[in-house]
């Protein structure tokens, strides 16, 4: 017991804050109100956690005095306010009585203690507390805290809390002042505060000022919200784009319905997971850069699997799209079960590298870095692929074989090999999509299933045999989905988009950007 006390004192001494002493506690608890308040302010000036606990007990009416000593009594158990040690409560212990003046001082002191706490979370909580019940008495305290605050987020909330106090003030000038101050704030909380006050305000001048401020705040918020919806739409669109780019090659150019495309993405995501594990074990210092190594690994793993599938199954089914669909569905079932057997049926954890966590803050918008990186990545992959198709020899062969297989073969192109390369390329891009998805979502055996219907919708909507169509369709669907989500919820948005696509396909079965031709079947 003694040892523990010594340790405690040593800790308190080491922490540097002035510890509550028995004399101080007594001075705050008993005596004339003026003296008590003076003692209280002295204690608050350099307080520690124990002071805060004591003041809290005092305001909860849980403090008693007995024989010149101060005790905290909670749930029938007594404790010493200075040391925290348990003590027996004497039978003649008297309650400490706080009058209203004392209570007010105690509350302010408590809030002030929290406002100046070292812990940013406590400060934020204190601001939230003060914001809930705007009280003019706390204005000086808020002003002081506002001046001292260094954290920009809390400073902003403090400013808002101060304005909330001012706006409820009985002084008209102060209210007008607050309306002007709030115009700078661009947060949804300001909007709700203003909406509240507009209803209660009686003075026409202030009312007009409040209305003007409210309009300004709402205007800027609307743009922020729209920008947020556009951003999340582009983000979803970029993911759809990555997923659909691989399909644009295998389905769009080669005409192969690959229902295992989602599972090739899953392989890419699991390849990322494996690379992450290897870095964690062998190169913990370079862990932040595992993603750079994971990108080519994911591409190669999926491309290899794609080449095996093409050589093993799909090449026997060219020209029989319905059979291809069934066979690749079978492949997808086997791949899913394979991953379940190897990695388990549970989702595995893939961490963002530290440089991808957090986000870019613009006004009231927060754009997560991982989403921004994926948008950039999707367009980089798109650029690389269009270069590959348009400028390289392999791209030329792929175009030649898809346009006219017999003539390409006559020109000496090894069409079977081109098929394999093209399919492996499409599969590799699926692997890249999986690598990207591992940074924003769960990695599990069902990862591919969630995207496969969407991806086919993108390709079908964009028009077969077109890269540009795929891009527009992916981004368009992403943004449309997010906007409908805004007013109808996620599930209804998805249904609405699917129904819209089905209706659209009725009107334009060849997709948005069809290759023009004279085929009777088109």
């Amino acid at each position: 017991m003694i040892h523990r006390f010594l340790l405690l004192f040593a800790l308190l001494a080491a922490s540097g804050a002035h510890a509550l002493t028995a004399e101080e506690a007594k001075a705050i608890a008993v005596g004339e109100s003026d003296d008590r308040i003076a003692a209280l302010n002295k204690a608050v000036a350099n307080a520690d956690d124990r002071t805060a606990a004591f003041l809290q007990a005092l305001s909860d009416d849980a403090v008693k005095t007995a024989g010149g000593k101060v005790l905290v009594v909670k749930d029938g158990k007594g404790s010493d306010p200075v040391t925290g040690a348990e003590v027996t409560v004497p039978a003649d212990a008297e309650d400490v009585i706080n009058n209203n003046r004392m209570r007010g001082e105690l509350d302010t002191a408590l809030a002030a203690l929290k406002l100046f706490s070292k812990d940013a979370r406590l400060r934020a909580a204190a601001v939230a507390e003060l914001q809930k019940e705007p009280d003019e008495a706390k204005l000086p305290l808020l002003e002081k805290a506002y001046a001292a605050e260094t954290d920009p987020a809390i400073k902003e909330r403090l400013g808002l809390a101060r304005a909330a106090v001012l706006i409820a003030s009985s002084d008209k000038a102060k209210r007008l002042d607050a309306a002007r101050l709030l115009a700078d704030s661009r947060s949804p909380a300001t909007r709700s505060l203003l909406l509240e006050r507009v209803k209660q305000e009686t003075d026409p001048d202030v009312q007009a000022a409040l209305q003007a401020t409210l309009r300004g705040v709402e205007g800027s918020l609307v743009w922020g919200e729209r920008a947020a919806a556009v951003f999340s739409g582009i983000s979803l669109g970029s993911i759809l784009l990555l997923v659909a780019l691989g399909l644009a090659i295998t389905y769009g150019l080669m005409g192969v319905i690959n229902m295992a495309h989602g599972e090739l993405m899953m392989i890419g995501a699991y390849a990322t997971y494996v690379v992450q594990g290897l870095f964690r074990t062998y190169l913990p210092g370079a862990f932040d850069w595992y993603l750079v190594a994971a990108v080519p690994v994911a591409f190669l793993a999926s491309a290899l699997m794609g080449a095996v599938l093409e050589r093993g199954v799909i090449r026997f089914l060219y020209g029989r799209p319905l059979e291809t669909l069934l066979a690749t569905w079978g492949i997808s079932l086997m791949l899913m079960q394979l991953v379940r057997s190897v990695f388990g049926a549970q989702n595995v954890g893939v961490e963002n590298p530290s440089w991808m966590s957090g986000g870019l803050v613009i006004g009231n918008l927060q754009l997560p870095w991982n989403r921004i990186v994926i948008i950039g990545f999707a367009f980089a992959v798109l650029a690389a692929m269009s270069l590959l198709i348009a400028r390289t020899r392999l791209g030329l062969f792929v175009r030649g074989v898809t346009q006219n297989r017999p003539i390409a073969a006559c020109m000496g192109v090894n069409t079977a090999r081109v098929d394999t390369y093209a399919f492996a390329l499409g599969s590799g891009i699926a692997g890249l999509a999986g690598c990207a998805l591992s940074q924003v979502g769960n990695v599990g055996p069902d990862l591919g299933q969630a995207y496969i219907v969407d991806a086919f919708m993108v390709v079908v909507l964009g028009g077969v045999g077109q890269l540009a169509g795929t891009v527009y369709a992916a981004l368009g669907l992403g943004i449309l989905n997010k906007f409908i989500e805004g007013w109808a919820g996620a599930v209804l948005a998805k249904i609405a988009v699917l129904v819209l696509i089905v209706v659209f396909i009725q009107k334009r079965p060849q997709g948005l950007f069809a290759v023009k031709g004279r085929s009777a079947e088109a």
């Binding site: 069934l326 569905w329 079932l333 079960q337 219907v453 209804l492 396909i505 085929s519």
Partner: protein, 406 residues
């Protein structure tokens, strides 16, 4: 369909074998190739209508009827449990369930095997029929649910005060029977009308039907849709006022399912042997040629598509009281695609094939998911690949080939 594939090339190559087979399926007169121009002065000789079933066919059919209507009930209800000839309740439930699946496979065969349209959305029609029946069964629970309320339990749980409008007909058995046919029929008709009119076909059609059932699944998962959300309907107590969980009731449902399956088989046989059926097969083999001959394929496709959907709906309605649960999982794209594999395993463009396929695949499923659950998906996946690569005519086609060789 796309610039990549030559027009018609797909259909011709994939179904040329099937076409030959269709000829030797007991219909000597129906020459599948377009007839050469008749010599001047002679009338065009129309092929004779083939008999509904051959003599062996009728024998086998009557044996099947006896097995379903007399043998199975006797073995289950009359033979004591200790006897080796006793048919266990488990077997009754299993075979009853598989017979429902067989109806789906038969419906899939009509649209895929005979018309060349692969639907990946037949699970939707199955589930719609099942939900129509499920609503009735939920109402039949009456006040015996957990909350002892007039409304079904899940509505009490969601704090709803009255039945939503789409439950209005759910307390009448007759209206339910009409809904079981009408709801999948109308959905299929409307969807098919727009799809076929815009000449959507091949893989496009397959993918869109998959999107359709996927969207419906998402819709039914919502609680607000009024179909019990995630959990769907379960805990049924009685049907037309009779307790549902007794062996006798189970046997009645079993016999009803078997008779329905056999009746649908005869009906399908009648359809494919008729002129209507021959036009369907012509559409499958060369749609452009059919159009140039002066036929409008839309009506034919739409009719068989709607018939197929209704068959699936009836199968779903028979399935729900036997299995005791219906939830949106039945609409998942995976379920619909499985129907296609039953038909493919048994043999497309034969009518016995899908039934055989449904029994084989589902028998293997119920055996494997118990003995080696981790191998079931490997098996199913391998089945998809093997059937498409090595068995384009399915098991029935293989058996026919062997018989011919012997």
């Amino acid at each position: 369909m796309s610039a990549v594939l030559p027009p018609d090339g797909v259909d011709e190559s994939s179904f040329s074998r099937l076409r030959e087979k269709a000829g030797d399926e007991g219909r000597p007169g129906s020459h599948p190739h377009p007839s050469p121009l008749p010599p001047a002065g002679e009338g065009v000789e129309l092929p004779q209508r083939a008999p509904l079933l051959t003599k062996t066919g009728w024998t086998a059919f009557i044996v099947a009827v006896i097995a379903v209507c007399a043998l199975a009930p006797a073995l289950n209800l009359l033979v004591p449990a200790a006897s080796p000839f006793h048919m266990s309740d488990y077997a009754v439930a299993l075979v009853g369930k598989i017979m429902c699946y067989a109806i789906c496979a038969l419906a899939m065969d009509l649209i895929w095997g005979y018309t060349g349209i692969l639907s990946l959305g037949h699970g939707l029609f199955f589930a719609l029929g099942g939900y129509a029946m499920g609503m009735y069964l939920m109402r039949q629970i009456g006040r015996d649910g957990n909350y002892h309320a007039d409304l079904p339990d899940f509505m009490v749980f969601l704090d709803w005060k009255a039945l939503p409008w789409h439950w209005a007909l759910s307390d009448s058995f007759l209206a339910t029977c009409i809904l079981i046919v009408a709801v999948p029929g109308v959905v299929a008709f409307v969807f098919g009308y727009f799809a076929f009119r815009s000449r959507i076909k091949g893989v496009y059609f397959s993918i869109i039907t998959q999107a359709l059932t996927f969207a419906a699944m998402l819709l039914f998962f919502r609680n607000e849709t009024g179909f019990g959300g995630n959990n769907g309907f379960t805990d049924f107590k009685r049907i037309v006022g009779i307790a549902i969980a007794t062996p006798q009731m189970r046997m009645v449902l079993f016999v009803l399912t078997g008779v329905t399956l056999l009746a649908f088989f005869l009906f399908a046989r009648f359809l494919v042997a008729s002129k209507f059926g021959r036009v369907l097969q012509a559409i499958r083999d060369a749609e452009s040629r059919v159009m140039f001959c002066g036929y409008n394929p839309v009506g034919y496709k739409l009719a068989i598509w709607t018939i197929s959907a209704i068959m699936c709906g009836v199968a779903g309605a028979l399935y729900v009281p036997q299995v005791g649960i219906i939830n949106p999982g039945e609409m998942s794209p995976a379920n619909s695609i499985e129907i296609a594999v039953w038909a493919a395993v048994g043999g497309r463009a034969t009518l016995v094939g899908p039934i055989v396929g449904a029994f084989l695949v589902n028998g293997a499923k119920s055996w494997l998911t118990v003995t080696a659950p981790e191998f079931w998906l490997y098996f199913l996946g391998a089945l998809f690949i093997a059937v498409t690569l090595f068995l384009p005519d399915g098991i029935v086609g293989l058996a026919k080939k062997w018989r011919k060789r012997a």
